[in-house]
């Protein structure tokens, strides 16, 4: 009836070609910069990284570590982002499908849909705010991506 799998979905329009965006989101250096809270990203295998992050959102602050990997890649079109992060305050497992589609002339629409599953204290205590957290983090991610694209 009620699922604590947090739905993650939305879209973001970015003024860049799907080619540029595709390269950037597969680049660990860029990912490290634009993903909220990431402190380090270490490549352990093709498209698989060991991630250490420190997330501070209002009342909650946690040091996470675990894996981040990119699967089911379809060049410039779509991929699946798999996140598995653990911390003392709880664990997060997320799978987010990302789709790129050209929009207007020079823009690309990024569509993302997926779910995040929480456990531990985060799940028990954070229910009231989790959907807002996901939304804010996504926005931060794409804003940072835009900024990164502008800087290039």
């Amino acid at each position: 009836m009620i699922s604590h799998k947090m739905k993650i979905n939305g879209k973001y329009d970015i003024n860049a070609s799907s080619d540029v965006i595709w390269k950037m989101i597969l680049d660990p250096e860029v990912l490290e910069k634009i993903t909220p809270g990431i402190k380090s990203l270490e490549t352990t295998d093709t498209d698989t990284y060991k991630a250490v992050s420190e997330v501070k959102i209002g009342p909650v602050k946690g040091a996470f570590n675990g894996n981040l990997s990119i699967k089911d890649k379809k060049e410039k079109e779509s991929c699946l982002l798999v996140i598995d992060q653990k911390s003392k305050i709880g664990n997060v497992v997320a799978e987010i499908g990302i789709k790129l589609a050209p929009s207007e002339e020079t823009n690309t629409e990024i569509q993302y849909t997926g779910e995040a599953k929480l456990s531990g204290k985060l799940a028990v205590m954070g229910q009231r705010i989790m959907s807002g957290v996901v939304s804010t983090l996504s926005k931060q991610f794409f804003k940072a991506l835009e900024k990164e694209i502008e800087n290039k």
């Binding site: 009620i2 739905k7 939305g10 420190e54 501070k56 959102i57 209002g58 009342p59 909650v60 602050k61 946690g62 003392k88 305050i89 204290k121 985060l122 205590m125 954070g126 229910q127 009231r128 705010i129 989790m130 959907s131 807002g132 957290v133 939304s135 804010t136 926005k139 931060q140």
Partner: protein, 266 residues
């Protein structure tokens, strides 16, 4: 429940607080009333190394009139706000919002500055701050600046404050005709939906809290306002509506419309 260890420093001036923030950065948290921070620390969801208590800084808990504005010190408690004659007479909408926060004990400790800096997406003040077009006065390393309400709330628990800035005061224009309406979450008593409406002649300004990850100005309602409450149907236009156990997207959207309507009609 006991928080993890931390150092506690009671700042005696704004400058001292800013210096401390600058020094400790990510590891520090500002404490004012503590009603958001301390429970999180007890649950160990947050383990700051340094807690900087700004509650004793002189001059930060006054409510004064400055021309057409009411200036409220960041350390004013909800209780001080709801009891202030000045606010009741010149900015009644804020007293209405303050009355709905927490309970007696919480209102005796919680502060307006703390609430705004915390930026809980379901807190009551933000809707009012937006609808009144208040400005937030922040002080940091580079001195003092004012931030328009519209620019202040940037996401869940996220504001335009820099890491080493603190809110020292909030400046509200006087509001003759304002109204705050709230639908309570039955457990926490936060707002599932909170709507602040400020009317001025033919124009209306509408602030909404609880509905999205961040409080927002319902500009679609404002633009469609025709003196009746029919514009309420635009309450969530263009808004990504939150969903939780108490109110899913459909119900929350509906409530937003109902409460905008109520506030427009009040």
């Amino acid at each position: 429940m006991i928080p993890a260890k931390f150092d506690y420093i009671k700042a005696s001036s704004v400058n001292e607080a800013i210096d401390l923030l600058d020094k400790h950065g990510f590891d520090a948290k500002i404490l004012s009333g503590g009603h958001s921070l301390i429970p999180a620390m007890k649950l160990r969801l947050n383990q700051p190394e340094v807690v900087i208590d700004i509650s004793a800084i002189p001059g930060m808990n006054t409510i004064t009139e400055d021309g057409d504005e009411i200036v409220i010190g960041a350390n004013c408690t909800h209780n001080e706000i709801l009891k202030s004659d000045l606010i009741n007479n010149e900015l009644n909408i804020l007293a209405q919002a303050a009355k709905t926060i927490g309970d007696i004990q919480v209102r005796n400790r919680g502060t307006i500055g703390g609430s705004l800096a915390h930026a809980d997406p379901s807190a009551d003040y933000p809707a009012t701050v937006l609808a009144c077009e208040a400005t937030i006065v922040a002080e940091g390393k580079n001195g003092s600046r004012t931030i328009a309400a519209a620019d202040f709330f940037q996401g869940i628990f996220t504001t335009a404050l820099e890491d080493e800035e603190i809110i020292t005061a909030i400046r509200f224009p006087k509001v003759a005709n304002g109204n705050y309406q709230k639908f309570y979450q039955s457990a926490s008593r936060f707002a599932v939906v909170g709507v602040a409406v400020v009317k001025n002649g033919d124009a209306v300004k509408v602030g909404v809290t609880g509905v999205a990850d961040t409080p927002y100005r319902a500009t679609a309602v404002e633009n469609a306002y025709d003196g009746t409450s029919s514009a309420a149907s635009h309450a969530v236009d263009g808004v990504e509506v939150m969903s939780d156990h108490f109110a899913d997207t459909e119900y929350r959207s509906h409530l937003a419309k109902v409460y905008v309507k109520k506030a427009l009609e009040a």
